[in-house]
């Protein structure tokens, strides 16, 4: 069965801190791994990772994939209160499906 496990489930930091969020997975026929940020209702797309060792970067956010060890990390440097959100990791299900299986998410709270 396809599985996505995120850790930690919640994290509280102060502005300026750097955080690392983890996502480990088990899926047949891996194709990609996606990171989303969910603030109120709608998850907004952050990154899609397909290749090991290639860092994707957008401003203070970056992410990398390790297909050998079956995990990905999402880093946020110099955190701001606006980074407070739930960060979701998702993968397309095995067997060629486009359906996504989601982890439970990491709830990040950045305090001023």
């Amino acid at each position: 069965e396809d599985k996505v496990v995120q850790s930690p489930l919640s994290l509280v930091v102060h502005e300026g801190d750097t955080v690392t969020l983890n996502c480990s997975y088990e899926v047949t026929n891996f194709r990609s791994l996606l990171w989303y940020k969910q603030e109120k209702k709608a998850p907004t797309f952050l990154f899609m990772l397909t290749s090991s060792g290639i860092e994707k970067k957008s401003g203070r956010l970056s992410s990398i994939l390790d297909k050998k060890e079956l995990f990905s990390i999402l880093n946020i440097t110099a955190t701001q209160t606006g980074d407070s959100a739930i960060y979701l990791c998702a993968l397309p299900k095995g067997g060629g499906s486009e359906k996504l299986v989601f982890g439970k998410g990491t709830k990040l709270t950045v305090n001023p």
Binding site: K41, P43, F102
Partner: protein, 115 residues
């Protein structure tokens, strides 16, 4: 990216009634999906909305409870039928745009409270 709108954005309903949620995408997409997110939980896929044919439901979800329509490549509806308080959730539609495989974009969601 695809721009997706949903309506209503929120609603409060009485048990036993039904609510239809609409999802509109600003361009043609190959795949559309409906998810549910119960309080404190992650997203759970309800079904794949198939254009011109019956939706494909995930285990635990049935057509009688969650009828879905997809009359064309840009629009879909999800109905939550005979609602109970356990149906209180955020309902999200997502779309996968042709040519950008495996990047699903989400609508703003519908927050439903059933009393």
């Amino acid at each position: 990216s695809a721009v997706i709108s949903q309506k209503p954005s929120r609603d409060i309903c009485q048990r036993g009634t039904s609510l239809t949620i609409q999802c509109q995408v600003d361009s043609q997409v190959t795949m559309m999906f409906w998810y549910r997110q119960q309080p404190g939980q992650s997203l759970t896929l309800i079904a794949t909305a198939n254009q011109g044919s019956e939706a494909t439901y995930e285990s635990g979800f049935v057509i009688d409870k969650f009828p879905i329509s997809r009359p064309n490549l840009t629009f879909s509806t999800l109905t939550v039928s005979n609602m109970s308080p356990e149906d209180s959730s955020i309902y999200l539609c997502s779309a996968e745009k042709q040519g950008l495989q495996e990047t699903q974009y989400f609508g703003p969601g519908t927050r439903l409270l059933v009393l």
